[in-house]
């Protein structure tokens, strides 16, 4: 039986970690993620978990300690945001290439400068090519559900990769909402035995990890790492199916909202998807054929599936909550547009960069995007690259 609760995103994640009861948590506090290690260290102090909590002196050290613990065979979790994730950068790549599963909860926050503590997706989108699996969350509920599934996905023998669970700083991390928590025993049963331990440094066989790798072998190891990311696609769906049986909540690579006969669609990530659903409902009530795709899994990128989902739209706006500074649209825009090539050709495809540094995203903003799309369909005239909500 699930428990109906009202929690902030950070509380939901901390309680999820408590239910998972990892072996090691090494963390360094940073706004707006601080509450996660803060609450969790209270669980440790109260003896409510068996975790070894390692208070470190920086995020680089936090990730290093986590990798060491995971390499030794421990089930490991941590949390960070923004500059904290940036300071972990070197170690993110090491963790992925060492094939050490661990779960990192990231409250998405803008990167400096100028200095800003508020939400956008610059931090995790910058880490998109680090080799980590990335799950994104619209709400506290999804952050909690993704966290629990992340353990199973990362530890699967065909995957063995670290997983980032991302949710919007403040908007989700500090807002109290309704959600359903699973029973402790159900989470314990779902995450099951630690699947890393037998294959790790302190496992059954002696081994060395993280060796020097020269040109004659590095490429083969990277190719094998890429295969693990491909394998993750099936594993993510398997774990989601099992989680649905337990929770009643359905997860996939992305959520399609009223896409069946949609002519104009938005592709978006995290909490803005919720606001966009509200707009879709209102526009549908006016008879407008609008839909929404909310990305849950950005790495591995579900290219074929997204292209298929967009096959019947006339126009699609792809929204990035960061500026990739490519001078040609944000990363989600480029990946989705590239995925559509040869599969969903002949569409109007536009880029919207929005919500930087915590700029509030309102239903009026989203209505503007749909209105732009219908105008593009009717007149054939439109801008490909757009900034939404910036003062012109």
């Amino acid at each position: 039986m699930a428990k109906r609760v009202s929690l902030s995103g950070n509380e939901a994640v901390a309680f999820g970690m408590k239910q998972i009861n990892p072996d090691v948590v090494a963390a360094f506090p940073i706004t707006p993620s601080t509450e996660v290690p803060q609450y969790f260290s209270q669980f440790v102090a109260n003896g409510q978990v068996d975790t070894e909590f390692v208070p470190v002196e920086s995020e680089h050290s936090a990730m290093s300690a986590c990798l060491g613990a995971a390499a030794a065979g421990g089930r490991v979790m941590t949390a960070t945001a923004s500059a904290g994730l940036a300071l972990m950068w070197e170690m993110l790549y090491v963790g992925a290439s060492m094939r050490t599963p661990l779960v990192l909860a990231v409250t998405n926050r803008a990167l400096s400068g100028p200095i800003n503590i508020h939400n956008d997706h610059s931090d995790t989108m910058g880490a998109r090519d680090s080799g980590w699996i990335q799950l994104y969350s619209e709400s506290a509920q999804e952050a909690y559900d993704n966290l629990i599934q992340a353990v199973r996905i990362g530890e699967h023998k065909d995957v063995q990769l670290p997983v980032m669970v991302c949710y919007d700083g403040f908007i989700t991390s500090h807002a109290v909402e309704n959600l359903e928590m699973l029973e402790d025993a159900d989470v314990k049963n779902f995450v099951g035995e630690n699947r890393i331990a037998p294959y790790a440094l302190l496992g059954k066989e002696p081994m060395s990890m993280g060796p020097l790798d020269l040109p004659n072998h590095y490429f083969e190891h990277k190719r094998l790492q890429a295969e693990a990311m491909k394998n993750a696609k099936n594993v993510i769906l398997e774990v989601a199916a099992e989680y649905e049986k337990l929770s009643g909540r359905k997860y996939s690579f992305f959520e399609e909202y009223k896409m069946e006969d949609a002519e104009a669609a938005i592709v978006v990530i995290n909490s803005t998807a919720g606001t966009a659903k509200y707009v879709v409902d209102n526009l549908r009530a006016q008879g407008k054929k609008v839909g929404l795709i909310k990305i849950r899994v950005f790495r591995p990128f579900p290219a074929e599936e997204i292209a298929k989902a967009l096959k019947n739209v006339k126009a699609v706006a792809i929204m990035d909550k960061l500026d990739g500074f490519s001078a040609s649209g944000g990363p989600l825009f480029n990946e989705v547009r590239s995925a559509m090539y040869g599969v969903a050709d002949g569409k109007i495809v536009t880029s919207y960069i929005y919500g930087l540094g915590g700029r509030d995203v309102t239903s009026v903003n989203i209505e503007k995007v749909y209105s732009d799309l219908f105008s593009a369909i009717e007149t054939g005239k439109y801008e490909v690259y757009n900034y939404l909500g910036v003062r012109e």
Binding site: D213, E220, H221, E227
Partner: protein
Amino acid sequence: MSNRKVNITPDTTWKETTPGGVIVDAGNAEDFKTGDWRSMRPVWHEDKCKHCLLCWVVCPDNSIKVENGKFVGFDYDHCKGCGVCTKQCKFGALDFVPEE
């Protein structure tokens, strides 16, 4: 080499290699013959050797072969020719000569 769990060679493909380059065979450094790095070669004069085994102590590559507490020869497959053993020998039992 045949007793290795994973036989890594210069031709190993990505499907055959280990995740992240994990080394699953303890002591597989022995498979890599570092002896061909050598330009100078230690030579043993059995008649002057007291079998004090200080050469074994200082050798960074475990290339001094010992049996029953006595020096019996060099492991030329792995000796890189650093000459540390010859430098420390107090009895003139180890010479250091150019490779031919």
